[in-house]
Structure formats: C-alpha cells, structure tokens
Symmetry: C2
Subunit: 146 residues, 2 copies
C-alpha cells in the first residue's frame, strides 16, 4: 500500500535564501516550479486557493529517490516560526547520512554552515552526529552510521 | 559528503498512540529503544540532559532505508502543538508514495484513518494526493506518482 517515503516538505520564508543554504549543504536543485496556483493542494489541505513557489532538492548521489519539497507560500502567506526546541511536538528534524562526519563538518564550515555544537557528539553505540539549522531554524542533523 | 536522507524525526506526546497510528497506516516498527538517557543528544541539540523513548518505523517493502524516528520526550517533557496549517514555516509535511491511491484510501478508512478531503485531489499534471494527520496533527500525505 505505502511503498516508500516520497518527500518531506519545508515551508520557508524566503525560497532563494533556503535554496542557497541547502545547496551549500551539498544538495542539488532537481526541479523548480516557479509559481503555481494550485486548487488541488488547496482542496487537499483545506486551505484557501493557494499560490506558491516550489523547489525540489536532493543529495546528488542518493540511492533513495527522496527529495525536499521547499515551499514559499505567497497566498496564503507563510506564517509563524519553526519549532524552537527539539522536544516540541511535531515533525521536528531531518537527518542526513554522511560517510565521514569530521570531513563533512570540515568541508561545510568554510561554506558558512555553522553547527550547534563545536564538535560532533556521540550517542547510542558511539554514533557521531552534529546539528545545524536552516535559515528558518529547521533542525538538520548529519549522522554517520546507523 | 551527504550521501542520502537518513531519517525524519517526529516528537509525539504519546509514543504508543503514535506507533498505533503509523502501524495502521502500514508502517512497521523496526526498532524500539525503550527509554534512554542521552547526554550526546543533549550536547548536540543544546538541551539539558535528556530522557526519551524512541521507536523507529518504516514501510516494510521500502527501497529507501529511511525511517521515522518517533520520539516521546520524558525529560525535558514534550511541549507545544504541531503546526496547525501547511503554510506555517518549518518542516511541515511528510509524504509517502502509494502505487494506487484509491485502493490505499479504501484500505485505510476501515482502519480508522481519516482524510482532510473526501476524495483524493489532483495537483500539477494530474497527480492524485490525499492528506491525513497523525495523532499530534502532523500532516501526512499519500501521493501517487511524481
């Protein structure tokens, strides 16, 4: 019935600012939907008629076909702030697999990606992990192993 | 550097209630971490020492290795409510691929899964989609094609 995950969607305040962030993180734009008025989405989500800008991004070498559906709502406009803490109820964190977390953090810092902790932190059976936040404050975790 | 998506995390108020929902949706529990005190997570996310219950779930036949990391925080406790609308800034929606959306909705309704619209809605180039919410109000979309 459910075959697989298909995508995760992030509502962002400024599409180009977020695209820039995820590109610096190493993802690639796989599709741009410049501006769309979407009655189907409005019906499906019980929203008023919607106008939005959309970009899909994915890691370039990923085996999964998953992507981020990055959405800037124009009408109705984006509202609110992302969850401020990890223990806030809701879809709260997106985790990417990296093969070498030290190499990844060393490569990402010069691209302006900053992390919540100075060094990767280990949890469970010694799994190293480090966390950044996207321009809207969405928690994005890099994780080696699991 | 980033190889692939690894998981998405949902903070829930009641772990068993949410496990029941995602199992009815067709996912399977792939790991249970009954209760863990995790200094590494606390350090990585700049939280006080954390105590949490965790269950991993995934679609049983999925080609991707992605999973949902379902977390009930015990200390610090879960806080807040999930985003009430789709245009709320943040990681806002999780989408699953289904091969036949009419068959999926027909199979899921008797399991107590209710949808925001009576029928699947089409968007873009005729892609049918329907939306439910998990017990904490997280938007979960079923989508055929893309």
């Amino acid at each position: 019935m459910i075959d697989d995950f298909q995508h995760v969607s992030i509502t962002c305040r400024d599409l180009e600012r977020s695209v820039d962030f995820y590109e610096r993180l190493g993802l690639r734009v796989i599709k741009r939907i410049e501006e769309v008025t979407e009655q189907g989405i409005a019906n499906a989500f019980q929203l008023p008629p919607s106008r939005l800008k959309v970009v899909y991004l994915a890691p370039p070498q990923a085996a999964s076909k998953l992507f981020i559906d990055l959405v800037q709502w124009l009408e109705p406009a984006c509202t609110g702030e992302s969850y401020p803490v990890l223990n806030h109820v809701g879809l709260n964190r997106l985790a990417f697999h990296v093969s070498d977390i030290d190499a990844a953090t060393a490569a990402l810092r010069p691209r302006g990606i900053s992390f919540l902790s100075q060094e990767p932190q280990s949890f469970g059976p010694g799994i190293p992990s480090i966390v950044t936040t996207d321009p809207d404050g969405v928690f994005v975790q890099l994780i080696e192993g699991l």
